[in-house]
């Protein structure tokens, strides 16, 4: 049974069809890449899956549960987490707080217990701090736990964002251009890193990326979008030779 099943997903922004008739089925533990030229609707697909936008038509099912109509925090609780194209950390907050906030859905105490710091409050807070620090230490960020997120170097901010997403304990991780702003060396490291995350946290990953080297290197399957329409799907080798894709996207690069 597929983990995520999207059928006939369509989204319009006041007449502009950003995504039309998008279909896909993602199996557990797959690593799928979504590629396409700028403005093809890749990020819109992510925004639809995570509930930032409400789909005009179609259905998105996670483990057979319909996601269209749910709010982002409900969807996150069901097990989908994401990162952002332009890093969206809580900049003025500490690294530890960034990760602790992602544990919001797992906390068992009520507002009343929080106001008076009684009942389950202390034990829960202790648990959350331990979990957050454990996670940070896996990502080698625990030494900077007290630092404000905005003071971290760019690479570490990207890493923290992934750590924060994983703190919500997802089954499905959506990475929106994880390699943006990285040099070729860093991209090679990132490829190992993404594979390692998939194994360590046993998550399914969908990633949007422009860096062909990364996409071709690690993705098991690719979905190519152009102007909101799915123009091709398949394994990287097939995609590389698909004439439609070459025309829409890679073709330009080959010509140059």
């Amino acid at each position: 049974m597929p983990l995520l099943e999207i059928s006939k997903l369509t989204h319009r922004f006041a007449g502009l069809c950003a995504v039309s008739d998008f279909n896909c089925a993602i199996e557990p533990h797959e690593l799928v890449g979504v590629i396409g030229p700028n403005g093809a609707g890749k990020t819109t697909v992510f925004n639809l899956i995570t509930g930032v936008y409400r789909a005009s038509e179609g259905s998105i099912k996670l483990n057979n549960q319909e996601l269209v109509g749910l709010t982002p925090h409900q969807i996150t609780k069901l097990g989908i987490a994401r990162t952002f194209q332009n890093i969206r950390l809580f900049k003025e907050l500490s690294v530890l707080d960034n990760v602790r906030i992602a544990h919001y859905g797992q906390i068992a105490y009520t507002p009343a217990e929080a106001l008076l710091h009684i009942g389950r409050f202390r034990a829960e807070e202790k648990r959350i701090i331990h979990q957050a620090l454990d996670l940070l230490s896996i990502f080698k960020l625990d030494e900077m736990a007290g630092e404000k997120a905005k003071n971290l170097p760019y690479g570490l901010q990207r890493r923290l964002e992934i750590a924060r997403a994983l703190a919500t304990e997802p089954n499905l991780l959506l990475l929106d251009e994880p390699a943006a702003g990285m040099n070729p060396n860093e991209i090679i490291q990132l490829m190992d890193f993404i594979g390692w995350i998939r194994k360590t946290f046993s998550v399914t990953i969908i990633l949007i990326e422009h860096q062909m080297r990364l996409v071709m290197g690690i993705c098991e399957r690719l979905i190519v979008l152009d102007f909101g329409a799915t123009i091709a799907t398949g394994v990287p080798a097939e995609i590389q030779n698909n004439p439609k894709v070459l025309e829409a996207y890679l073709g330009v690069e080959v010509a140059v």
Binding site: R82, F84, R88, K91, L93, P111, F121, D142, A165
Partner: protein, 347 residues
């Protein structure tokens, strides 16, 4: 000079270890209340000074609670005077018309609590529609709310209409003000350093990211707004029984502006800042009383200078250590020790 520094260091060190102690806060409460009781019974603080201290306390409650919305959450509410009015009228009506005259002293805390709860309920009703929209709308909704409250109160003759309400006993005493101030500071600090408080902060930083990190932003906003208006109502009740007279004009937008000034003077997202801002502003207003109308020239001027030289206020985004959750630091430290031990065991 260096000797002074060591004495200062020594004091600060002692102070820090003192605030770490478990018994510090209960002891602080008891000492504070008994000192205030003694002060008001034996009058070794003169009545005028007592009244100023009462206003300082009330303003601290107002500032800390508004800071929750405007500082920690980064929204902009200007309706605090409206919630204060609700609390003031409900508490006053209870002590003047409902409670038996003999038992007023005894039932006074109940009246204050009822005022707070009424304001919280109204806050809840305002929060539901206003948090459906985003950003600046809250300012507009709360501004309208403030005006509605004022004109509703002006048009109900049973509660005095524009003439106002009087007949309250002088029930707001220094010990009670101390109690409610300490309580509100403690509870808001608890909220800020909890899961919900972190949710409030994340809404200020990036609301969409916060929602996507599983924070129920709507719930968090409503909790924060209800808690904030609850304490505005408490402050209103205390205010009414300190002045022994209220009318709708006292709770207009000017009052809200006063509270806003105290918040931004003290510094956003800081409890220590709010306490300092409220103290400085209240005392300055009193000290500058001889200036008469010129006060209203001086205060805005001060605010303009503040915004130029310290745009985030005196303590903007910083917190005094005494308000921080030391338990969390201890947990973190223990975790690090454990990690280090584990690392030493398996190199």
């Amino acid at each position: 000079m260096s000797k002074n520094k060591t004495i200062y260091d020594h004091f600060m060190k002692r102070w820090h270890t003192l605030t770490d102690k478990k018994y510090f806060w209960p002891l602080f409460m008891i000492t504070g209340i008994s000192f205030c009781t003694a002060a008001s019974t034996f009058e070794f603080i003169d009545l005028y000074l007592q009244l100023i201290l009462i206003y300082v306390g009330i303003n601290i409650i107002l500032t800390v609670s508004l800071n929750l919305i405007n500082g920690y959450m980064g929204e902009f509410s200007v309706g605090h005077a409206g919630f204060m009015a609700v609390g003031a009228y409900v508490a006053s009506l209870l002590t003047v018309h409902v409670f038996p005259t003999g038992a007023q002293n005894l039932l006074f805390p109940l009246a204050i609590l009822a005022g707070g709860l009424a304001a919280a309920l109204v806050g809840f009703l305002v929060a539901i529609p206003s948090f459906k929209t985003r950003g600046d709308y809250l300012a507009i909704v709360t501004l309208a709310f403030c005006m509605i409250v004022k004109s509703v109160l002006e048009n109900i003759d049973a509660i005095g209409g524009p003439r106002g309400l009087l007949g309250m006993g002088k029930l707001t005493t220094l010990p009670w003000v101390f109690f409610w101030t300490a309580l509100s500071v403690w509870i808001i600090r608890n909220l800020v350093y909890s899961n919900f408080g972190r949710g409030v902060l994340s809404i200020r930083e990036d609301e969409i990211a916060s929602d996507l990190m599983s924070v129920n932003t709507r719930q968090v906003k409503i909790i924060a707004f209800v808690v904030s208006s609850f304490f505005a109502g408490i402050a209103g009740g205390l205010f009414a029984h300190a002045l022994q007279f209220i009318n709708p004009r006292m709770f207009d937008i000017i009052k809200s502006t006063d509270i806003l000034i105290m918040v931004y003077l003290g510094g956003i997202a800081s409890i220590a800042g709010s306490v300092i801002g409220a103290i400085i502003y209240t005392i300055l207003l009193e000290v500058l009383r001889p200036l008469g109308v010129w006060r209203m020239v001086f205060m805005p001027l001060m605010l303009v200078l503040l915004m130029i030289y310290r745009p985030r206020g005196i303590m903007g985004l910083k917190e005094a250590r005494m308000f921080m959750p030391l338990r969390d630091f201890v947990t973190e430290k223990l975790w690090r020790q454990k990690k280090k031990e584990a690392g030493d065991a398996t190199p």
